[in-house]
């Protein structure tokens, strides 16, 4: 018996191509090892190490970007994991998100009295999963990446043990996440059944060679893939977990989920639908169209009626996801570039916004009602101004990155002749603008509930904003305005970020 088993052919591994994943994963492992052995290290070591590791991952992505430019896209592990400019830009966005969230997390942990590296380690592991998803060339690898991304995120959501809502958020996120994973797996199985492979290159190859006569199984597989990934990117009607999880989870963790996790989810959507199933775009485009319409409208309308700012931003993040779906729906190079641009710009915006909330939410992380923001202008004028810029950018006001991002998405939709979808997107943007105005009005009114705006004398108790959090907010505001005034750099990066499927060779 034994004699019949030949040696297993090990796939060719290009270690440099795995650089970002390795940096994040090994960084996490080193952090937990060192902190277990040397418990006396000061707390700042954790965030500094996390930011350093993320910077290393981003640096690896940058050097690979040049290599892809010179040699073209290539595969890092057999034909399972691809390195192309799309996956690299997504990797960079995830890494930068981690770099921005880590310092905020430090201030947050100090206020809450949490010590220990586990929250940072989990974030690094989750980010590594996101990077795997961005480059996955096989549905199974994609699933692995998704799980590596999600399981730490479930734990992160439940980290605030003192808050019952945080535990609820973790449980809800876990149950619904597991549910969506099941959908995804079933979808993968059905796609495998109809095409005979789980490899994206193979699927694309198969669909271009053969006409699938009875394609019910393939269509069902596509539908289930869309459901599974729809949960991750929080598209309506798979969004039910978002408001509760965003409200319950620790605020900096929410910043991470809204930026890195969402970006990784959309990277997977683009890789699977726009790239691998591009020949069947006639089948999935109408479904994504419908999802985008419901997502845009539900997100914006439900955001307006909330009283809690974290819930508001949760629903608004759903509306933003709808915008990215509009870019996906275009199923074009322009649409993909617009979606990547949107994700990059939005990640920075949302981290800035939630950093402000993390500073305001007070000990216990529960003061995030609209009334708790009253008088922020008289307590912390600079923070209020930064928050205003970030909110205006989310609303899509010109001269901010949010405007350019929305502009590119709408341009892609109009170019793809999806006029009505573009109209729905703009209407949703206007409805959502009301939400941001509501928050701004609260920020600029006086704390006693009256509306004597701007009276600095009767400021309430001073608000302690950690220096690092302040710096992160300043950095995100600078990026937001910078990209808004000079969008060329990010635009060119997004335009060059073309996803590619390279056959094993």
């Amino acid at each position: 018996m034994m004699a019949q088993i030949g040696p297993v052919a090990a796939p060719a591994v290009d270690w440099a191509g795995l650089g970002p994943v390795l940096a994040l994963a090994l960084g996490a492992v080193v952090a937990i090892m060192v902190r277990t052995l040397a418990r006396r290290l000061p707390d700042w070591v954790d965030w500094a190490w996390t930011a350093l590791v993320a910077a290393a991952a981003a640096g690896a992505a940058v050097s690979l970007w040049g290599r892809v430019g010179a040699e073209g896209p290539f595969n890092a592990v057999g034909d399972q994991f691809g390195v192309d400019r799309f996956s690299l830009l997504v990797t960079a966005v995830i890494a930068v998100s981690v770099m921005l969230v880590a310092p905020v997390l430090h201030g947050f942990c100090q206020r809450e009295g949490w010590s220990g590296p586990e929250i940072y380690v989990l974030m690094l592991l989750s980010a590594a999963g996101g990077v795997v998803m961005a480059g996955a060339n096989d549905l199974v690898v994609l699933f692995l990446g998704l799980e590596i991304l999600s399981i730490p995120a479930y734990v992160l959501a439940a980290r605030n043990l003192a808050r019952i809502q945080s535990l609820e958020a973790g449980l809800k996120y876990f149950v619904l996440g597991a549910f969506s994973s099941a959908f995804l797996l079933y979808g993968i199985a059905l796609v495998y059944g109809s095409t005979g492979t789980t490899n994206l290159v193979g699927i694309r190859d198969y669909l271009s060679r053969w006409v699938v006569l009875s394609d019910a199984m393939l269509l069902a597989g596509l539908a289930l893939l869309l459901v599974g990934l729809g949960f991750k990117v929080a598209a309506v009607p798979f969004h039910a977990w978002v408001p509760d999880v965003y409200q319950g989870a620790p605020t900096p963790v929410v910043a991470f989920m809204a930026s890195a996790v969402k970006t990784a989810g959309f990277a997977a959507v683009i890789r699977v639908f726009v790239v691998a199933f591009d020949l069947r775009s006639g089948d999935w485009q109408p479904a994504v169209y419908a999802l985008a319409v419901v997502t845009l409208l539900t997100g914006a309308v439900l955001a307006v009626v909330q009283r809690d700012v974290k819930r508001m931003l949760a629903y608004s993040s759903i509306a933003h996801a709808g915008f990215v779906l509009v870019g996906v729906q275009a199923a074009s190079g322009r649409g993909t570039a617009a979606a990547v641009f949107y994700l990059a710009a939005y990640s920075v915006l949302v981290i800035g916004s939630f950093s402000v909330l993390a500073a305001v939410s007070g000990p216990g992380d529960s003061r995030t009602g609209l009334d708790d923001l009253r008088g922020l202008n008289s307590r912390r004028p600079a923070l209020a101004l930064g928050f205003t810029v970030l909110l205006l950018a989310q609303a899509g006001v010109p001269l901010t990155s949010g405007f350019v991002a929305k502009f590119e998405i709408i341009a892609a939709a109009v170019d793809a002749r999806s006029f009505w979808l573009a109209v729905v997107a703009m209407v949703s943007a206007v409805v959502a603008a009301f939400l941001y105005l509501r928050i701004m009005v609260a920020v600029y009114s006086s704390p006693d509930g009256g509306d004597g705006a701007g009276d600095a004398e009767e400021s309430a108790e001073p608000l302690a904003v950690p220096v690092l959090t302040g710096l992160v907010v300043a950095a995100t505001v600078a990026v937001t305005v910078g990209v808004g005034v000079l969008p060329s750099v990010l635009h060119d990066l997004a335009r060059d970020a073309i996803p590619a499927l390279v056959a094993a060779g």
Partner: protein
């Protein structure tokens, strides 16, 4: 000199106020008089640039864009930094540059509650940059950016320095305008992707307003044109505001601080009508022809509805706000005829309404300051207590109701007349009906304004204000701020050609598309316009 103006004139006039705002940001807030001086200097510098431009402007070639600046801006979205000044922009530019310094003068000792002149004046200067830029931009995205830049300062002006109900009013103002401009942006994008070069048949892919006016919608199917026009119609119509979209205006005007109301009435409303004249009609003439009867209908509904609304008001400021709806109805009626005569009248109407209604809001602000109320039923006897204030109110009301010899007349009367003979391809019968309705509107206007005058200025001062020492006559700052506007009402009333002669060549150029489409607009009305202008 001309070289300097050619290269820098329009850029400077646009951004000098913004530079002033930047300087003010660097100066600490407690130096209040320094802030007032800087704001004054910046707005006067812009006005001085405006005088230079007016002097250097080639009036013989008012139909073509002058002092053009054309630089690369955001290449990635094919948007360029293009500014230009022609006969359509010129009167509106002059209006803007004149009104803002007057507002700064008025603000000298009228900073509304809760104070903070630094922020207030910074917002005013940013507003000026936005307004001037909108009138000069010759690129759709640049136009859109300036159009939006105007939105935020006004939002804060109403939302922070406004009256009782300011939150509601400011958010309503912001959302209505944003809704309109969202659809407008879509239309701009559709123009970008659908326009083709008529000579080569290739996709144009440009936001350059000059090129898009030249192609005039060639190659776009009429069905698509009608939809694109609809998007712009809502975008500009909200700003005008036209009848079903007007509900933000009375709230915004009533709650806004005096200077905010003045700028809103004098300039901001014109951004909408200017958009019709500059963008919607010239770029999509065929669609304009389809929409013309509907625009005309909404315009006359606005005229009658605004007038009836005025008659129902008990608040002086709200009454003036509703009169804006009626007056802008006349402007839109002129535009809807799609004739050079009608559009010339419309531009005159914009300037006249800007001066007159701006002045009325100044007066309302001063009345509020003295009486602490604008409730018409509580006021009275102003001629006895503050005679000059009362007489000025009477004079401006006369101008507003369209008394011949004052500026208001030349906005309304030719607009009504132009409806007698709209462009070929537009139903003449429909527009003659509109003409009659609009004429009835002028009677109603006389009614509400005279009624207002009678109740506020005549009779004996009411008991509660009879011995109030706060009720003084016109002060020195008020004279300084108001005299230029009062003079302009007379000057443009006596010599309307000052404006008509500048606008006419540009208007003829702008509706060239209509002319070609309809095989020549009615020459008789064009000649009448020229005669009236002379």
């Amino acid at each position: 000199m001309i070289d300097f103006l050619d290269a820098w004139g329009l850029t400077l006039v646009t951004f000098v106020p913004a530079v002033g705002a930047l300087v003010m940001m660097a100066v600490p807030g407690h130096a209040e008089s320094a802030h007032k001086r800087i704001a004054m200097a910046a707005s006067l510098a812009a006005a001085a640039m405006g005088v230079l431009l007016l002097a250097g402007f080639d009036y013989g070639a008012a139909g073509s864009l002058q002092f053009q600046a054309d630089l690369g801006w955001i290449d990635v979205i094919n948007s360029r930094y293009i500014l230009g000044l022609d006969g359509i922009s010129l009167p509106l530019l002059a209006l803007t540059l004149a009104v803002v310094p007057l507002c700064v003068i008025y603000s000298w000792n009228h900073i509304p509650e809760p104070g903070n002149p630094k922020a207030f004046l910074i917002l005013m200067l940013i507003l000026e940059t936005g307004m001037v830029g909108t009138f000069l931009a010759q690129d759709l995205i640049l136009f859109f950016v300036f159009f939006e830049v105007v939105l935020l300062p006004m939002f804060f002006m109403i939302g922070v320095w406004g009256g009782e109900n300011r939150r509601y009013a400011s958010i309503k103002f912001f959302l209505f305008t944003l809704f309109g401009s969202a659809l407008m942006l879509l239309s701009f994008l559709a123009l970008f992707f659908l326009s083709v070069d008529p000579a080569t048949g290739e996709a144009l892919r440009t936001f350059d307003m000059r090129a898009l006016t030249d192609t005039a919608g060639a190659g776009i199917m009429l069905g698509a044109q009608v939809w694109i026009f609809a998007g712009m119609f809502i975008g500009f119509g909200v700003k005008v505001p036209m009848f079903p979209f007007h509900t933000w205006l009375p709230d915004a005007h009533t709650e806004a601080p005096t200077v905010g109301s003045v700028i809103l009435a004098a300039v901001l409303l014109k951004l909408g009508t200017y958009g019709f004249v500059r963008i919607a009609v010239p770029m999509l003439p065929a669609a304009a022809e389809v929409w013309a009867p509907w625009i005309g209908l909404l315009a006359v509904i606005g005229i009658i509805y605004g007038a009836l609304g005025c008659l129902a008001q008990t608040d002086m400021k709200r009454l003036i706000a509703f009169s804006s709806v009626a007056h802008m109805g006349f402007v839109m009626l002129g535009i809807a005829t799609l004739t050079d005569f009608g559009i010339n009248a419309a531009i005159f109407g914009m300037v006249a309404h800007g001066i007159i209604t701006g002045m009325l809001f100044f007066l309302a602000g001063s009345v509020k300051e003295r009486y602490h109320t604008l409730e018409i039923s509580r006021l009275g006897g102003m001629l006895a207590q503050a005679p000059r204030l009362g007489w000025i109110l009477g004079f401006v009301s006369m101008a507003s109701l369209g008394l011949p010899g004052l500026a208001g007349f030349w906005g309304e009367f030719p607009a009504i007349l132009s409806a007698y003979n709209p462009a070929n391809g537009v139903s003449t019968a429909t527009f003659r009906v509109y003409m009659v309705i609009a004429a009835v509107g002028t009677v109603l206007a006389a009614g509400y304004l005279l009624w207002l005058l009678q109740r506020t200025t005549m009779g004996k001062p009411p008991a509660e204000f009879a011995d109030d020492p706060a009720i003084v006559d016109v002060t020195r700052t008020e004279w300084l701020a108001w005299a230029p506007l009062l003079a302009a009402i007379v000057v443009f009333g006596v010599a309307p050609g000052l404006i008509f002669e500048v606008t006419d060549p540009a208007v003829v150029g702008a509706i060239e598309g209509c002319l070609q489409l309809a095989g020549g607009c009615d020459g008789a009305t064009g000649a009448a316009g020229a005669a009236m202008g002379g």
